[in-house]
């Protein structure tokens, strides 16, 4: 079920909110768990059992790791079992066909593909389970004794299918002792509605432009650039909008999930970009892969290798395609360059550094969204004049004019300027009073308009479902 859908907004959510808030406090995690299972089963009835088994295995192994924490060998064995189980199920459901295809291509064999459907959100909940058992092993958190609490954490519908990747350590206390409040709920509602707006009013429309470009028979150099810009904005508003909705829903239920995006497109380097983009994934790989490999406290060559490994895995996490691996490795190269050569220069410049980062990110997303590497490179070639495309075309002019206001709003919205404006207004008593009066109304109007878009439209895919 998508947050940006009529069944979620006007059937599922009201029912869950009623059940949740009329339930006694000790039953609220059970309500969350049950509703999360229904939410998950709505899209993936079969795979709800896979998730249940994953949770059960994580629960038992977490307890065993803690129980034998004095016996390092045994404790490590249970941790390895947990990692093998989690990564094994991810490998089977997400990567099996990729490995078989490439093995076949390399050896000339014809091993049949498995054609296993990808369970929704498996990459997210697997990483949450992994972080839980690893943290228990490290002694950073205590194993959760109550399986309902652990299951509610892993399956919690606000963040189940698209993150952010919430660490158990971040919600450990909230699972047992949280206090919902009007202040948190109102903040959650604001976040949720603004996130929904990002998704429906901006991301979906920009996605439409990307689809139009892909189907176009009248491509031009300018159209390739328009596509690259549109897709970069689309994926940002799609994903950050979903993360905002997840955080907003979390706050309504009394949880405080980490911020997942922090205006990445204002970054002055790719290094900074990755501190602002999909923060929960970046920090996950940092804490569970990069630092255990030695991080930057090793010799330069090993450091470079660590960067390559982490970013290849980051790319691969996004999907079982060479495009994602190339995308990750592209960032690895740029990050290594920045660490060893151009980092200082980028820190000093204000314009060139931002231009460089934006171009790098734009090009990376063209490969990211390509059906295969050939398409990705041909699109990048098209942006730079290869392929005999004209500079402009009729379709470019038509769609550029048609989408210009949306692009302008999206570009402005990708900067902190609107937020700064609101904050500065709230500093003055008079404008704060006006904002206090009108804010709930503005939120309602936004919800009303977005409902209209949902009722009218069928173009509502969510990109991160496939991850």
């Amino acid at each position: 079920m998508l947050f940006s859908s009529i069944p979620f907004l006007y059937y599922f959510l009201p029912l869950v909110l009623i059940l949740y808030f009329i339930s006694p406090r000790k039953l609220r995690n059970s309500v969350l768990l049950l509703s999360s299972l229904v939410f998950y089963a709505w899209g993936e009835p079969k795979y709800v059992f896979l998730m249940a088994i994953s949770i059960l295995v994580g629960y038992v192994l977490g307890l065993l790791i803690e129980k034998y924490n004095q016996n390092k060998k045994l404790s490590r064995l249970f941790l390895i079992l947990s990692i093998v189980f989690s990564l094994g199920s991810l490998a089977y459901f997400k990567y099996a066909d990729f490995f078989i295809e490439n093995f076949n291509a390399a050896t000339g064999l014809a091993i049949p593909l498995l054609h296993v459907a990808l369970p929704i959100g498996i990459s997210f909940y697997t990483f949450q389970l992994l972080s839980y058992t690893i943290d228990v092993y490290r002694g950073e958190v205590k194993a959760q004794k109550n399986i309902i609490n652990l299951a509610a954490y892993i399956s919690m519908f606000p963040q189940l299918i698209a993150g952010p990747i919430v660490r158990y350590s971040d919600v450990e206390k909230s699972l047992s002792t949280r206090r919902e409040s009007f202040d948190m709920a109102a903040e959650g509602i604001r976040l949720f509605i603004l996130g929904l707006g990002k998704k429906i009013l901006l991301a979906n429309q920009l996605g439409e432009l990307c689809e139009i470009f892909k189907a176009s028979t009248d491509k031009s150099v300018a159209f390739f650039w328009l596509y690259a810009i549109a897709f970069s904005l689309h994926i940002y508003f799609d994903f950050s909008g979903y993360s905002d909705m997840a955080r907003g829903l979390g706050k309504i239920f009394g949880f405080d999930f980490m911020e997942n995006f922090n205006y990445p497109y204002i970054s002055k380097s790719v290094t900074e970009f990755w501190r602002r983009w999909h923060i929960s994934l970046g920090t996950w790989f940092r804490d569970y892969v990069y630092i255990p490999l030695g991080g930057n406290r090793v010799k330069p060559l090993r450091h470079i290798l660590n960067i390559l490994i982490v970013w290849m895995l980051t790319g691969f996490w996004h999907g079982a395609e060479w495009t994602f691996i190339a995308w990750g490795l592209f960032f690895a190269v740029l990050l290594a360059l920045e660490k060893f050569f151009i980092g200082d220069f980028l820190k000093k410049s204000r314009i060139i550094s931002r231009f460089y980062t934006l171009i790098a990110v734009l090009l990376s997303f063209v490969v990211f969204n390509a059906a295969n590497l050939n398409e990705g490179f041909s699109y990048i070639g098209g942006m730079f004049g290869s392929g005999d495309f004209p500079l402009v075309s009729n379709e470019f002019f038509y769609y550029f004019k048609s989408f210009l206001p949306i692009l302008a709003i999206a570009i402005l919205g990708a900067t902190p300027l609107p937020k700064k404006l609101v904050l500065s207004l709230e500093k003055k008593p008079f404008t704060k009073r006006i904002s206090d009066i009108f804010e709930p109304l503005v939120l309602l109007i936004l919800l009303f308009i977005m409902t209209a878009y949902l009722v009218d439209g069928s173009f509502n895919p969510f990109l991160y479902f496939r991850f």
Binding site: N394, S402, L447, A452
Partner: protein
């Protein structure tokens, strides 16, 4: 205080809408979209496990959302006036005219159409007559400032695929004002020049005077409902004279010949007022003109544009047969139509020739 208001308002709106959704869903048929909306899906273990129930429910919940047309119009106005989109779901409003974006040119479609027409020619027409004509009705985008494909290429493809047919060019005889503002079709009262052009090329006289009649109800064309932007409705006018009044019209829609009308007032009261002209789509219609000065027959392979044009060709013929191969198998055409020494006109709109998969 602000936070409490936000929470209560949000909860109230969510609950109220939820109650409306559950207890007051929209009617099953959408007049504006001219389609049946999704029904509540079947609940069973099988449909739930297969995911069919959830898919069906999502369609149902979205389709049957209370005040659907109102919400759709809110979206249309937001798209048009806030985001300044050139089109909304492919619908364009320009200088008071509504139209649908028809882009790009799909050349395979012209090949498909030309092949189908050539099949008809080879099987039924060849050797019986050599008076074969092709005429193409441009959709109104051709006269508008919007994204449009290469119309010359479309015409060229059709002419190339039908070397046995003489082409009659209607493009210069028409202008945007000849089309309804809320519908895709042309206005009968504005296409007498087009009819004259066709008649002269086919070497037939159709000089006749007409009385212009106005249908009393406003005409909200197909785009009006789809777009939901308030555009003043059109007026349907239709031309009559003694010759037309004396014609015998037979409609084979039900498989058997049934008496019908040149201008079908009952059909005009239905979902599509344009069906006033010859009662709308039908696989086969014949018009016999007892006032004809000579025995001369015309067979028109056609789409809906011909419904309003055909009456204007009637004075030149003793019998006109209209064949719509979207509703009759091409192989059956020979059983109903006499091509011997007849004029044969293939009259199709560019819209159909760019999406010609419906031919049977």
């Amino acid at each position: 205080m602000k936070n409490k208001i936000t929470c209560f308002l949000f909860a109230f709106v969510l609950l109220l809408t939820s109650v409306l959704c559950i207890f007051f869903p929209e009617d099953e048929f959408s007049e504006s979209e001219r389609r049946v909306l999704a029904s509540f899906p079947e609940i069973s273990g099988e449909t739930i496990l297969s995911g069919d129930f959830s898919k069906g429910f999502e369609e149902y919940a979205t389709d049957r959302f209370p005040f659907r047309d109102f919400f759709r119009s809110v979206k249309t106005y937001t798209s048009e006036y806030v985001f300044q989109k050139s089109d909304n779901n492919g619908l364009i409003l320009q200088n008071g005219h509504l139209t649908r974006l028809d882009y790009p040119l799909v050349t395979d479609m012209q090949d498909l159409a030309a092949n189908k027409f050539s099949y008809l020619y080879e099987k039924f027409i060849k050797g019986k007559t050599d008076k074969i004509y092709l005429s193409i009705v441009p959709d109104k985008n051709y006269y508008m400032d919007t994204l449009k494909y290469d119309y010359e290429k479309l015409v060229g493809k059709m002419r190339e695929g039908m070397p046995y047919a003489r082409y009659i060019d209607l493009f210069p005889t028409l202008s945007l004002s000849d089309y309804y503002t809320t519908d895709s079709h042309w206005k009968q009262e504005c296409i007498t020049d087009a009819a004259q052009t066709i008649a002269s090329e086919m070497n037939v006289k159709i000089d006749a005077k007409y009385t212009v009649n106005t249908y009393p109800e406003p005409f909200y064309g197909v785009y009006s409902g789809q777009s939901l932007i308030k555009v003043p409705p059109d007026t349907i006018k239709y031309l009559t004279n003694d010759i037309l009044n004396g014609c015998k019209v037979l409609d084979y829609n039900s498989g058997m010949a049934k008496p019908s009308f040149m201008y079908h007032m009952e059909k005009a009261k239905g979902k599509d007022m344009y069906e006033l002209f010859l009662g709308g789509n039908s696989p086969l219609i014949t018009i016999e003109n007892p006032a004809a000065k000579e025995v001369r027959e015309l067979v028109i392979f056609r789409d809906s544009f011909a419904s309003s044009l055909t009456p204007l060709l009637v004075p030149g013929y003793s019998k006109i047969t209209l064949v719509d191969i979207r509703y009759i198998m091409s192989d059956f055409v020979g059983g109903f139509v006499n091509f011997e020494d007849a004029d044969v006109l293939f009259l199709y709109s560019t819209s159909l020739l760019n999406a010609s998969t419906a031919f049977k």
